[in-house]
Structure formats: structure tokens, C-alpha cells
Symmetry: C2
């Protein structure tokens, strides 16, 4: 029987990060990543396989990252977990552990409509063989329908549209694409851009059936419209993969994911969980959070990995920070949108500022940047931010995230010490973050007066 | 006699921002910017006039920014300030004030060597006529020598080198260029890049004399070397412009700038100062800081403007955040370098990480990003950071700055909630900020054990 000090089940963003963290915090311990994939896809890079990268083999988490830290990798499928004996059963035998981290990820969400399983209907799996099969199928497809217009739907659609001779349609049940991430004005802007790139986005579109004789031929909407389709891709969320945990008697939480405390410990003293398979609570109010992102997974993994043998850090709750990019336009979001803040019961002040990301605006690479900040009205605490701009928007949002995490007030942000440069950023006189905070302060003062 | 509620002397980064802030905080008050320039140069944009922009007229702070906020602009030269009568005397007459903000900026530093005033020797003034004269002179110059290899020296040299048929030499007394901003490994990298672009950087170069018969002909170094020069540009720092303040009896501070408290108030109850003319104290230890940057000026202006009629905010001390960019390579710095931290008496741990700014690294626009973080060893407090990368480095440094300002610990940063995207940022598994903090934690633990 093989022995490991620490076993991590799963080798994607959560598993890899948990393993590296465990080695850094407990260098005397042997850490095994047990995963079923020979090679692991970079989860967020999957849409780019189909256009920009051209191959699933160019989107791999390098094992060298793990090997450099002394992590052992075992490619085998876990069949069962015995929490009393502290062992896992795999296709290759039994391994004992002192501590275990469940990083089993998620499975693609299913749409409860007839025809979901027809040939040519593809859920989004991270499995490389599956992705290669989809890629092959796309080569001969003329009509591609993507169901769900969140980040993944938009990114898939835009990448597939880069291939020759494809009609790409995206179906979204909500009034706008990306409506969970952004307020309406940002959603509409991205939607308009994506449409201008030749993609047919249909909102308010409720899918009734995937039609076809064995093989998909069309998607029928609830209003009776039928859209021709050779390939249908489902970007409709993710379901925590909790099978092993559940069978082993580990408690699940309110959303059906593995229940964890703030240290990422499960109901079993020696077992932690992180990533898509684990329950999340919101940084705002502590309610369960439905967000499933690689960046969230890696944070949880850094907490789980550090806490294995003594509790060293705790989770403050999920802020939710993420971004997307289409055709040189980047959009990023952190924390609550204005809509979400109001839905969560916050009385809030929202400010939008827009200006060039260079100074003077005529410097090369100049593009208008739009920033929205949402503050709680009475306290002035920053609840969320949204940015639309060029490449740098992907890092601007991380400054916004820092402000949210440290519960900074509009006043703190108005006196933020930022660096600026003509060729790299907006002007210090009108730096968007600071400018928006100062305008919010004026508005809050007016409301109080 | 004209009357104003608030007078701001100076219309550059500090003056303009102070005026906008005053109007936002005290909308019932009339705010006058009194400045001598009809049009005001963007200070940080000045080097780009000579190459990228092509004209001083393309590098102007737009008056519309002020007018939109209801700020009045008076183009006249202030000759004296009478603090008892609360008036200023200008070339156009007398104006009374309730509150005054001194934003009189700085004058170029002088080099104590013979020949400093020869025809063809140019200090860096913000005055447009002066900049146009320099530009005209550069057209016919073959040999250009820039004295001082800080940001300004490098940016001037690189922009002038973009013009046809110029030999450009930069003289630096220190062993490396940019040594006040970066640790050696970053300085050397930038220096190598700048040299590879055909610019002759000479370090350890002490200027002894500007030679020539009336007009500059060469620069003689203390080792006897003479370097041919048609134009000599001095990028050797800035001296606070305190003439009006001093004559009016307002107290000066230890470095000769206008003394201010944490509210940016001077020794006179009704007078504030901000920007290059005002004293600065460091965020680290509270000693006087020699930094003079537009971004620092605008922060001070936001404090001064908000405090005019009641104290609403205070200065925590200057962190110092700034960046530069040459040929697509951006470098940025915040807080203390490792060298400066040690000079300031801190026992510190420094970590350098390097990796692609995309995931996978093969995504378009991918470039290696290097990040260095410096922590105080016993507390784990972040003291400073340096970034080398592409455009986004200019915003990554602002996340670093947020962490410094909130006195975040390595532990806080290791659990930072960042957003990532394949087309915009590094991978969440190896996000540089978080990765560097985690490595620092391992190192600090080892040191303690």
C-alpha cells in the first residue's frame, strides 16, 4: 500500500495551487496530486483553443510548475475515499494519507430540455480528447449555436467566428449578455461589439428543444423559432463535482457543493476542499455565492494548502473578480454591480467616469477607459467596480479589488497614491479610480445635506 | 479690486487638481486659478514632445477640465502675496482671497559647473516657448548630451534618438541609471535596453564643465573625456519654487520647500500649499522625502482643496509610485526599493518572480513580467515593489501601491483576490503578486525557524 502525507484529488487550478502551497508551507511533507488527466487544460484558456491558439495541446498547465516544488503527480482515477482508514482507492490501488484536499472541480451545467444528448451537442468539458472532438466537429460545421451568453459563451462564440465560414449564434435567456457580471451599460456595449463582429446574439431566448434525427439539426426556442445548428455548445454554468465526497459521507452545503469552514476544512478533520467543488460564501453579507472561477479556486487552494497541519489563514468570503476580452476591448468586474448591490439590500451611490488611458490622449495606444464604482451610501464603503478599456483594464480591476478587500471608503480612494505615465495610464489629474471616488463623495454629501 | 473666495497660484498638475477639488468640496465658492501660462504643458508628457507627439501644442492640460467644474482662469503673473490683507498682486492688479493655495511648482535643478548658461544648454522648463526653442535647436543638432539618467533623462534621450541623425549621449554620475527608483537588476535591464536602441549611456560620469565659445561645443568630464555636443539638456532634478511664499513670510521646511502640516496647511491659517513647491514627508518613517512627481502633486492638491474651509482629510506621507516606458518595455516602482529599505534601517526580505503575463504564455501579446516585492522581515509588512513588463505594468504597480498604503502583510497579499484572464494577465496559479508574497512567507518562516 502506497503512503502519502498529503493527497490532493484533482490537478486543475485548485489542485495544482493547493499542491504548491502545501509544499511551500510544509516542505517536510510529501505531496501527491492524484488526477485522471495525463495533461490538464488551463480552464480559462479553453475558448482560445478554437481560434487564437489552434490546438488543445497549446493550453496546458505545465507540470514543471509542480515538479519544481517537489510535488508528485499520479495519473489515476479515484474510485472511493475511506475517511476512517484515511485511504483513497484508485484505478492503480490504495494510497493512505494524513491530510486530503478535495479539488475535484465541476461538471458542466445541464439544460433541462429534450435533445440535450444528441450527437453534435457539446457541453464544455476540460478533457482534452473531448475538446479535440469538438474542434474536429467544428471544422465541418457551418452553423454553430452557443447557448448561454456569459463570459464563456461570448469567448467561445468570438473564437469560433474566427474560423472560416461559420455562422455563429448565441442564445441568452436574460435581456443582456454578461448580466451577472456587469450593469446594463457595460453589457450593452460588449453585446454591440460582439454583434458588430458578425455574431448573432439573441437575448430573451429560451431554448425549448435541441432538434434533429440523432444528430443536432436545429435549436427550437420557446417562441417557436428554429435556428439551424450543426454544433450546439452549452455554456450554461457548472455543477460542483462532489461524487467522491458525498459517497464518503462528507457534508454538503446549501448549494450542493462540499461544505467548508473559513479555513476550507470540510466536516472531516483531516480533509479540506477548494475550487469549484467547494461551497463559497460572499464577501458581502456572507451568503452562499454561486461564482465558480479559477482565480477563486486558487485563493481557496492557498488557504487549504496552508492550513493542512495548522490553521494559518482564513477566507474573508468571495469578492469575485474577473474579466474578458474581445477584439482588443477588455471588460473587468470586481465585487457587486449596482444591480447586485441593490438586490442585496444596499443603499448605494454609483459613479461612472470615462476618459483616455494616456496623457495626453494623443499618445500611442490611447483608448477611452470607462470605470464604474459602487459605494454603500451611508458608510462610503466600496462595494464593487467595473472597467472597460484596453489590456490594462485586466490589472486596473485588481487595484479596485484591493480597495474592496481592505473595505476602503470613497475617502480612502480619493486620496489613493497612484502612479501614472503618459505612455501607460490616464492622467494623474483625472485618474479614473480617484476621480470616481471624489465624485461619489460630492454626491454623498449632497444627499446628506 | 477683484475678489475671489479661493485663489490657486499655479495651473499645472497641482494647481488644476486643487481647483477642481475645491469646487467639488465647496461648490458655493468661487475658485480662481491664477497662472502665468496661456497654455499649460502636461509635465510628464514633455519628453514626448520631441519624438512621439512632435509638438509642444499636443501636450497641453485641457482648460475644459477646469471650466467644466466652474473654475475661473486668470492668466497673469503673481508679483507678491500680502498675507495680512489677504491679497495677491499680479501684473493685472490686486485680487483678495479668503483661502489661498500655493501650487507654484519647481524650477529645474542647476549643475554647479562652469558653462551651465552657454547657448545650447537647456534646463527642462515647462514653458512652451522654451520647449519650442529646444525643439528647433534639436533639428539642427548632431550631438545631443543629456545630463542625468533618471526617468526624465532616459525619456528625453529615447525620444530625441527617434529623430534622424542624432548621436545621443546620457551622462550619469551614479553607477546605474534610475538608481533612485529601482534596485540594480532592474536598472541594468533598462540600461541595456536603452543602449541597444543606440543611446550612449555613460555611468560614473561626473560633469566638470560645459565647454564652448559662447555656444556649447562639448561636455568635459572630471576624467578629462570631452564629449561633442551641439545641445546639452539638464535632467538633474527640481528645486521648489518658493519665491512668493518666502517673500510673504511663509515658513519653509527642512529641504527648502514650503512647510505644510498633514492637512497641507502652511504656517498661515488661510494658506495651503501642494505639489513640487511643498515639503513632503515619506510614508516610511516620516522623514522629508525628495520625490517630486505629478501624481504626488495631485494627491496633495486633493488634500489641500478639500481642507480649505474645514479639515476633511490628512496626508499619510508619500509612498512614491511611478513608471517609465521605453520601446514597449514598462518599468514601475512603488515605495521603497530593497536598497532604500536597507538604507532606511529596515531588516527586509525581498523576492523576485518572473513569468508570462498571459496564460498560456503563447496567447498574443505575451511578455515576461518581473515583479520584486520587499517586505519588512519581522512584521511581514510590504515596503515596496518593482515591476518590469509590458503596458499593464503601469497598472500592476497601482495594486502594489494599494497594498503598501493599507500596510498589507505578506499574508494578506498571499490571499489577495485577483482577477485573471488568458488574454490580459498572468495565470491565477502563478499570479506574480500573490506568488511573490507566498515565497516571502516561506523565507520569513525559514529565517525564524
Amino acid at each position: 500500500m502506497r503512503k502519502a502525507d498529503v493527497i490532493i484529488i484533482g490537478g486543475s487550478a485548485a489542485g495544482a495551487t493547493a499542491a504548491i502551497t502545501a509544499r511551500r508551507h510544509y516542505p517536510e511533507k510529501e505531496v501527491f496530486v492524484v488526477r485522471q488527466e495525463k495533461q490538464v487544460s488551463i480552464p480559462c484558456g479553453i475558448p482560445y483553443i478554437f481560434g487564437t491558439l489552434g490546438s488543445a495541446s497549446k493550453n496546458i498547465i505545465p507540470d514543471a510548475m509542480l515538479e519544481k516544488e517537489g510535488v508528485k503527480i499520479a495519473v489515476e482515477t479515484v474510485k472511493a475515499l475511506d475517511v476512517l482508514r484515511q485511504t483513497i482507492n484508485t484505478t492503480e490501488g490504495v494510497i493512505t494519507y494524513e491530510r486530503l484536499i478535495l479539488a475535484t472541480g465541476s461538471l458542466p451545467g445541464r439544460l433541462p430540455v429534450p435533445g440535450f444528448d444528441k450527437d453534435g451537442a457539446f457541453p464544455i468539458l476540460k478533457d482534452i480528447a473531448h475538446l479535440e472532438a469538438l474542434q474536429k466537429r467544428l471544422q465541418s460545421a457551418s452553423n454553430v449555436v452557443v447557448i448561454g451568453c456569459g463570459f464563456i459563451g461570448i469567448e467561445f462564440a468570438d473564437e469560433i467566428r474566427k474560423l472560416a465560414d461559420k455562422k455563429v449564434t448565441v442564445l441568452e435567456i436574460a435581456p443582456y449578455c454578461l448580466s451577472l457580471a456587469y450593469d446594463e451599460e457595460f453589457c450593452v456595449e460588449m453585446q454591440t461589439l460582439v454583434r458588430s463582429r458578425g455574431i448573432d446574439i439573441r437575448t430573451h431566448a429560451k431554448v425549448a428543444e435541441i432538434q434533429g434525427n440523432g444528430r443536432v439539426e436545429s435549436v427550437r426556442l420557446s417562441d417557436g423559432t428554429a435556428i439551424s445548428a450543426d454544433v450546439v455548445i452549452f455554456g450554461v454554468g457548472a455543477i460542483p463535482n462532489v461524487e467522491i465526497a458525498k459517497a464518503a459521507g462528507i457534508k454538503l452545503g446549501p448549494t450542493g457543493a462540499i461544505a467548508v469552514d473559513r479555513a476550507m476544512k470540510t466536516s472531516n478533520e483531516n480533509i479540506f476542499a477548494c475550487g469549484d467543488c467547494a461551497e463559497k460564501i460572499s464577501f458581502f453579507g456572507g451568503r452562499p455565492s454561486p461564482l465558480r472561477l479559477a482565480s477563486i479556486a486558487t485563493l481557496e487552494a492557498r488557504i487549504a494548502g496552508a492550513n493542512l497541519y495548522s490553521i494559518r489563514r482564513e477566507h474573508d468570503g468571495t469578492v469575485g473578480v474577473w474579466s474578458t476580452a474581445v477584439g482588443g476591448l477588455a471588460m473587468a468586474t470586481a465585487g457587486l454591480t449596482e444591480t447586485a448591490a441593490k438586490q442585496n439590500g444596499y443603499d448605494c451611490v454609483a459613479v461612472v467616469v470615462e476618459g483616455p488611458n494616456r496623457h495626453p490622449g494623443g499618445m500611442p495606444g490611447g483608448a477611452p477607459t470607462k470605470l464604474k464604482l459602487v459605494f454603500e451610501k451611508n458608510t462610503g464603503v466600496l462595494l464593487g467596480g467595473q472597467v472597460r478599456g484596453n489590456e490594462s483594464a485586466g490589472e486596473i480591476i485588481n487595484t479596485v479589488s484591493a480597495c474592496i478587500q481592505k473595505r476602503m471608503l470613497a475617502e480612502d480612494i480619493a486620496t489613493f497614491q497612484m502612479g501614472t505615465h503618459p505612455a501607460l495610464t490616464a492622467s494623474p489629474i483625472a485618474y479614473p479610480l480617484v476621480n470616481a471616488a471624489e465624485i461619489a463623495i460630492s454626491q454623498m454629501r449632497k444627499t446628506r445635506a
